[in-house]
C-alpha cells in the first residue's frame, strides 16, 4: 500500500498517512497528540497531551487480512467503560471494503463493521438475556454501559476527543455481537465478530502471547475434542443402549437347572444339571430369603469327577434389609456333560437369631430358589459402555453450560 507522509503541524514529527479514504476527517499525531483537520489542509484542531499508549500487539500501519480482505490499521482509540474495563479499537481501512474496526482487549480480538439492519426491538428497553432478532438471527441482550475515549492517534473519520462518551448496548449470538452506539445525535448499529487471536497473529505476521484471561461476550465456546467425542458418543450411546436392552430381554440363555422353593436342610445339598453348550457363559442366580437363619457358605460346581468352579466366599451376593441373601454369578465350563451344583448351607447360631425369630415356625419351612442358565451373554459391559458414552456425550454440554455461566457472570 502506498504511504504518504506529512509533518505534524505541532511537533514536526513525520507522520505516515496509511491510505484512509476520502472520509478521513482527523489525524492525531502519535508523538505529541496534536489533532489536525485532514479536510482543511491539516489545520491544527487541538492537542491531547501526555497520552499513555495502550498495550496492543498491533500498531498504526499494521497490515493483514481479516476474512480474506486486506486491511491496514490507520487509527487507534482506547476506551474505558463505566465498569473500568479498557479496550483498544483499531481503525481499519480497505480499498474495497472501506472502514471497519479491530478491537483488542486482554488477548481477545473482535472485528466490527457498521450495519444498517435494525433490531426487532428497541435495545434501550431490553433486559439482560431477553431475545430479539436482527435480520432473522436471534440475539440475547447482554448489557448497557458507557464508554469514554482515553487515547486517540492516527486517522479517523470523525474528530474524536479525549473524554468523549458514548452509550453502548450489546447483544450476543456468539461469535457475533450486535451493538447499538448511542450518541446525542444518532444511533449507529454495529456487527461484531469474534476473531481467533491466532488468526490475527498469522495474518498480520505478529508475535504475541495469545493467552486470554477472561471470557469475551462474543467468544464462541470451542472444545473440538469434546465436541467430536460427544458426536461419536451418540452412536455408542444408542448402540450400547440397544444391545443392553436386547440382551437383557432376549438373550436370556437356556435354563439347565431350576429349583424353586427348595426346602432347606443343613449341610451339603447336591443339584445335578447337564451342560450342552459349553462355549458360552453360564449364569447362576439364587435367592435365599431367610439369610438371617440360613447362610450359604459355599457353592461349588463339579463335573463327573472334579471340582471345576467354586464361588466360595467370593460369591457375588448381597444381604438386603429384608435379610435375604441373593446373588448372581457367571462362570464357564470347558466341555459338555453332566455337572453338579453343591451348596453348603449352615444354620446360623441361635445367638445370632433373635429370640423372637427362634420361636417362629418358619425356621424350618424356609426355601431357596436356584436357576442355572447356559448360553448367557453378559450385559454388564454394554451397561458400562452406555454410562461411559453418556458421560462422553454430556461432557461437551456440561462444559458449555459452565462456559456460558462464566460468560454471563463476567459480563453482567
Amino acid at each position: 500500500m502506498k504511504i504518504k507522509s506529512i509533518q505534524c503541524k505541532k511537533c514536526a514529527a513525520p507522520l505516515s498517512l496509511h491510505g484512509g479514504g476520502h472520509r478521513i476527517r482527523a489525524l492525531t499525531c502519535e508523538y505529541c497528540g496534536a489533532v489536525m483537520d485532514v479536510q482543511k489542509d491539516y489545520a491544527l484542531l487541538g492537542q491531547f497531551k501526555d497520552q499513555a499508549q495502550p498495550i496492543c500487539p498491533l500498531t498504526l500501519g499494521s497490515e493483514g487480512n481479516i476474512k480474506d480482505i486486506p486491511f491496514i490499521v490507520i487509527g487507534m482509540i482506547e476506551y474505558r467503560s463505566s465498569y473500568g474495563d479498557r479496550w483498544t479499537d483499531l481503525h481499519l481501512y480497505s480499498k474495497t471494503h472501506g472502514y471497519a474496526w479491530l478491537s483488542y482487549q486482554l488477548g481477545h480480538f473482535t472485528f466490527t463493521r457498521r450495519v444498517r439492519n435494525l433490531p426487532s426491538h428497541d435495545m434501550a428497553t431490553l433486559s439482560p438475556r431477553s431475545t430479539f432478532r436482527v435480520r432473522d438471527e436471534p440475539y440475547r441482550f447482554m448489557e448497557t454501559y458507557q464508554a469514554e475515549i482515553i487515547y486517540v492517534v492516527g486517522e479517523l473519520t470523525w474528530v474524536a476527543k479525549i473524554g468523549d462518551t458514548t452509550i453502548l448496548r450489546d447483544a450476543i449470538a456468539p461469535p457475533y455481537l450486535f451493538s447499538m452506539e448511542e450518541t446525542e445525535n444518532e444511533h449507529e448499529y454495529h456487527l461484531t465478530e469474534y476473531i481467533d487471536p491466532d488468526e490475527i497473529k498469522d495474518n498480520f505476521e505478529l508475535s504475541f502471547d495469545t493467552h486470554r484471561s477472561f471470557i469475551h461476550p462474543a467468544q464462541p465456546f470451542k472444545a473440538p475434542i469434546r465436541k467430536a467425542l460427544s458426536n461419536a458418543s451418540k452412536i455408542t450411546l444408542a448402540l450400547s443402549l440397544f444391545l443392553y436392552l436386547f440382551i437383557s430381554w432376549f438373550v436370556v440363555g437356556h435354563t439347565v437347572l431350576s429349583e424353586k422353593n427348595k426346602s432347606l436342610s443343613s449341610g451339603m445339598t447336591v443339584y445335578p444339571f447337564v451342560v450342552k453348550n459349553p462355549k458360552h457363559l453360564m449364569e447362576i442366580k439364587f435367592n435365599n430369603p431367610k439369610a438371617n437363619q440360613w447362610k450359604i457358605t459355599e457353592m461349588t460346581i463339579f463335573d463327573e469327577k472334579n471340582k471345576v468352579f467354586s464361588f466360595g466366599n467370593k460369591l457375588s451376593a448381597k444381604t438386603d434389609s429384608s435379610s435375604s441373601q441373593t446373588g448372581v454369578a457367571r462362570f464357564s465350563v470347558k466341555q459338555a456333560g453332566d455337572y453338579t451344583l453343591r451348596i453348603n448351607l449352615s444354620e446360623k447360631s441361635p445367638a445370632t437369631i433373635s429370640a423372637k425369630k427362634q420361636t417362629q415356625s418358619t425356621l424350618r419351612n424356609s426355601a431357596i430358589d436356584i436357576v442355572i442358565r447356559e448360553g448367557v451373554v453378559t450385559d454388564r459391559y454394554f451397561k458400562y459402555l452406555f454410562f461411559l458414552s453418556l458421560l462422553s456425550f454430556l461432557i461437551f454440554y456440561i462444559s458449555r453450560y459452565y462456559f456460558e455461566q462464566k460468560r454471563w457472570a463476567m459480563n453482567n
Binding site: 479514504g21 476520502h22 472520509r23 479536510q39 474495497t96 471494503h97 472501506g98 472502514y99 444498517r116 435494525l118
Partner: protein, 214 residues
C-alpha cells in the same frame, strides 16, 4: 457517424474502429467500446458516436466489469459503471444485471454498498429540491422518510454498458432518503433542455462481506 443495429441482435460494431461489441443489456442506451474507448449512444435502430473520453483511472473495487458475483441467493454481473465526484472524493455506480436480465444499480462509496432499483414515479408527486433540507422528514408513498444526504455528483467518466445516457462533467444534484428500517431512496434531479426530470431509485444498504465472487 452512424451504424445500424442488426435486427434481432444487440451486437453492434463500433462505428469508430469496427470492433464488435456484444450488448448484454437489451435496454442499454450507452456503451463504451472496449477497444478504442469511444462512447456510443445506442438509439432505437442506430448507434451514434459520442466522442472519446479520457480513460478512467483503475481504482481497487470489489466489483469488476464482467466478473459475476453473488449477493445472498442471486447472481449478478456488472456490465457498466459511472464514477461521480463530490467535494472530498468519488463514488461509483455500477449497473449490474441478474440472471433474468433485470438491472439494478450498486452504489459503492468507500465500503458503503447500496443496491437500488429504478422506480416508476409520478413527477408531480416528488418533492422539489428546494423543499428538502438535511434531517427533514417527508412522507412518500405513505411511508416516512428522512433526508440524510443532499449533494451534487459530477460525472467523472464511465465504462461498459449503461441504461442511461451519461455526460462527462454533468452535475447531478441528488438526495438520499432513509427509511426507518434501513431502506434507501435516491432522488436524482436531472436537467434536460431546461426541463427538470426526477429519477427515483429504491433499495437498501448491503454488507460488502455478503458479496461473493463466483
Amino acid at each position: 457517424m452512424e451504424s445500424q443495429i442488426k435486427k434481432g441482435s444487440k451486437d453492434i460494431n463500433c462505428p469508430q474502429c469496427g470492433n464488435q461489441l456484444p450488448i448484454k443489456f437489451r435496454y442499454a442506451k450507452l456503451t463504451v467500446c472496449a477497444h478504442c474507448g469511444s462512447t456510443l449512444f445506442l438509439e432505437d435502430q442506430s448507434v451514434k458516436l459520442a466522442g472519446k473520453q479520457a480513460e478512467l483511472a483503475e481504482m481497487p473495487s470489489l466489483l469488476q466489469l464482467g466478473a459475476s458475483f453473488q449477493y445472498r441467493t442471486t447472481s449478478f454481473v456488472p456490465i457498466g459503471m459511472v464514477r461521480y465526484a463530490h467535494d472530498i472524493g468519488f463514488w461509483e455506480e455500477w449497473w449490474v444485471i441478474d440472471n433474468s436480465g433485470r438491472g439494478s444499480w450498486v452504489s459503492v462509496d468507500e465500503g458503503d454498498f447500496a443496491f437500488e432499483k429504478p422506480l416508476e414515479i409520478e413527477q408531480s408527486e416528488m418533492p422539489t429540491l428546494t423543499n428538502l433540507s438535511l434531517g427533514k422528514k417527508i412522507s412518500l408513498w405513505n411511508d416516512s422518510w428522512q433526508v440524510t444526504e443532499i449533494d451534487v455528483g459530477k460525472c467523472m467518466g464511465f465504462k461498459g454498458e449503461l441504461p442511461k445516457i451519461a455526460h462527462i462533467n454533468e452535475k447531478i444534484p441528488f438526495v438520499h432518503l432513509s427509511g426507518d428500517t434501513g431502506q434507501l431512496i435516491t432522488l436524482e434531479y436531472l436537467k434536460h433542455d431546461d426541463k427538470q426530470t426526477i429519477e427515483a431509485f429504491q433499495g437498501e444498504w448491503i454488507d460488502p462481506f455478503e458479496i461473493k465472487s463466483i
